[in-house]
């Protein structure tokens, strides 16, 4: 990777159904970058295309879904040009993946330390002894020093939070530069959730890891990520600095998402609802896809497709709110 090269650069990514008659791609013309040591959060309603984008980057699109356009560069290498074999070698070495339910990713019949050893040896080779040392170091790094020192344990013998830590250790086994975390804390208790997010933040800083953090919790994103990208029905609608985002989101959809979160302590006001539903892939909408639900809609919104702009103004709206002061 050359200096100044982003850890991940996606441009013009468009994903759609391989066959069939969807009128609309599932993800359309999506572009974003994540630098070394940076965390970008993807936020959006269920079905907005967050997981599909992650799958495309990882080269693991579900059957029936196809990349129709776009480039994906990881650590300076264009992945979409690689043959499947080369891609498979990179997966797991250059990128790690952590998702909501670690039990589906961990083998139930093998100790967790042994699983890290296996993963490491598949990608990096070396002696079993060296791999074992590496596994212990990783377990210690993710806060499981008791597991590193003691006898190996099966996944079912661990708590949910511990399993997620094991998942993270496994994802980091080969020292990837990029970590994709798809709803990593959704299934966990509040206190554990904070511990896992703190761990991810620490790794991001200490290792210079680029993190793509997928969540529908705007509040969690605003607290932990450096930048936030909001997706709506497969399109990016706003990208901005996480710190100012919660205070002054500019896209009407981002604002609606923020206002739907109950404040703590309660302020006595009724929660704002977003009327209607996001359009499915079968619905063709002219102009802005949020127009049918938008409180600020005007005539031109139904004709002109708003775009994000290259850099600087990153809000896809014809009539955005004022920027943060």
């Amino acid at each position: 990777m050359t200096a100044g090269e982003a850890a991940l650069a996606v441009s013009g990514l468009t994903l759609g159904l391989a066959s069939g008659h969807a009128r609309q791609p599932l993800v359309e013309d999506l572009s974003f970058r994540i630098g070394r040591g940076e965390m970008l959060a993807f936020v959006g309603e269920s079905g907005s295309g967050k997981s599909l984008t992650a799958a495309a980057i990882f080269g693991l699109l579900p059957p029936g879904i196809r990349r129709m356009a776009g480039a994906i560069r990881v650590g300076g290498t264009e992945l979409t040009a690689l043959p499947e074999r080369a891609l498979r070698a990179r997966r797991g070495r250059d990128m790690g993946l952590v998702f909501q339910n670690p039990l589906t990713a961990l083998s139930p019949s093998l100790g967790v330390q042994a699983q890290i050893v296996e993963t490491y040896r598949v990608h990096k080779g070396g002696t079993r002894e060296a791999a074992r040392g590496r596994a212990r170091a990783l377990l210690t790094e993710v806060g499981l020093s008791a597991l590193a020192a003691g006898p190996d344990r099966y996944p079912h013998q661990l708590s949910g939070g511990m399993r997620q830590r094991v998942m993270i250790a496994l994802a980091l086994a080969c020292d990837p530069g990029l970590l994709i975390a798809d709803e990593p804390t959704t299934a966990l208790d509040t206190l554990i959730q904070v511990q896992i997010m703190d761990l991810l933040t620490r790794l991001q800083r200490e290792r210079g890891l680029a993190v793509l953090f997928i969540t529908h919790d705007l509040r969690l994103a605003a607290r932990y990520a450096d930048r936030i990208l909001v997706l709506y029905a497969g399109r990016a609608v706003e990208e901005g600095d996480a710190a100012s985002f919660f205070i002054a989101p500019r896209h009407p959809y981002s604002r609606a998402l923020r206002d739907a979160i109950p404040p703590v302590p309660a302020d006595g006001r009724r929660l704002a609802e977003i009327p209607g539903q996001p359009p499915g892939p079968q619905t063709r909408i002219e102009g802005c896809r949020f127009a049918p639900r938008c409180p600020d809609v005007r005539d031109d919104c139904r004709r002109v497709v708003p775009t994000m702009g290259p850099l600087g103004v990153r809000v896809a709206c014809l009539h955005p709110g004022a920027p943060a002061p």
Binding site: T190, A260, I261, P265
Partner: protein, 327 residues
């Protein structure tokens, strides 16, 4: 206002799952000495981490799980003392919305039949009257009538939650136990369900036992909140007081974990406490191992609930004072 529901010294024990080296017939206590009052037309939030006993509490209140001791007073009648037959007239008054509505629905029944089922069991309506009632219930919860002929798996999460609510309302209950009604939903659906619950409550004077691990949702809907930890009540009181001035170290830790965007990145992550958990059977406070304010006394003597005034109770030897956190 009348006291709709009053719970006194409620405990629940389950037969211990059989494990090697454990005598059979052993029990483990899942709820210990819980008490609260839920007024008609009000909402009590039940908060606690996974496994703390929230679902068990909801089920025990509805007598779906037998309590091992304690009283469940419903209009001054002790439901805990009644047998199945005695309970029958009270069942329609209180309904449950299950934690996972999909699991609780018969996959081979249409949504319309799912909603109608309690009507068939409870009262002898004619088929026609039933159909009218189901349509009425669906419209009350904002469920499109065209969805009534569909099957549970064909509905979205938000639609299924509405259907579960319509079903629970079928017998015109006065109390609803809502077990994590918004946990699987994203923010925009959550906002709608929370608003819907509020509207229904205002319209019908319903009481809610609102179970959730999300303090934000609870603070929006519940006038009072009870915090559970390993089956023990840690704190209960008016939600606003509990959030602005948490008295129990556990409540304070839960609040500190709530992501407030203004505080960036781990500024206030809970301090790591590395104390070993107390031995089973010891007299220690159940929160001792995780507590940031514990003192030696906490290891030898379990605190009992004491009042801080204003219906605010806390089970801690060293309750916190003043605002733990600025919002």
């Amino acid at each position: 206002m009348s006291a709709g529901l009053r719970i006194e010294h409620l405990s629940v024990e389950y037969a211990a799952r059989r494990r090697l080296g454990r005598p059979q017939g052993d029990t483990h206590k899942v709820l210990t000495d819980i008490g609260f009052t839920l007024l008609a037309g009000e909402t009590l939030g039940i908060v606690g981490e996974s496994g703390s006993g929230k679902t068990t509490l909801g089920h025990a209140v509805l007598r779906m799980t037998p309590p091992s001791s304690g009283r469940i007073l419903w209009d001054s009648v002790d439901l805990a003392a009644l047998d199945d037959r005695g309970l029958r007239p009270y069942r329609p008054h209180m309904q449950l919305v299950f934690q996972d509505p999909y699991e609780a629905m018969n996959p081979r029944m249409s949504i319309g039949c799912v909603i109608a089922e309690p009507l068939i069991l409870a009262c002898g309506l004619t088929r026609r009257a039933r159909r009218i009632r189901v349509a009425q219930l669906a419209s009350q919860v904002g469920l499109d009538e065209s969805l009534l002929t569909r099957y549970p798996r064909e509905l979205s999460g938000g639609q299924r939650q509405r259907a579960a609510l319509a079903r629970a309302l079928a017998t015109k209950p006065r109390l609803l136990v809502l077990d994590e009604p918004t946990s699987g939903l994203d923010v925009s659906l959550q906002a709608r369900i929370l608003n819907l619950l509020r509207d229904l409550q205002a319209e019908k004077g319903l009481s809610y036992l609102f179970i959730s691990h999300d303090l934000a949702a609870v603070s929006y809907i519940a006038q009072r909140t009870l915090v559970l930890f390993r089956g023990h009540m840690m704190e209960q009181g008016p939600t606003d007081a509990l959030i602005r001035r948490p008295a129990h170290p556990y409540t304070a830790a839960l609040l500190a974990a709530l992501p407030v965007p203004a505080e960036r990145k781990a500024a206030n992550s809970a301090a790591e406490v590395t104390r070993l958990p107390p031995d089973p059977g010891s007299r220690a406070c159940v929160y001792y191992a995780g507590c940031a304010t514990a003192q030696p006394r906490c290891r030898t003597e379990a605190p009992i609930a004491t009042t801080l005034g204003d219906d605010h109770l806390v089970a801690c030897h060293y309750p916190l004072h003043g605002a733990a956190r600025d919002f």
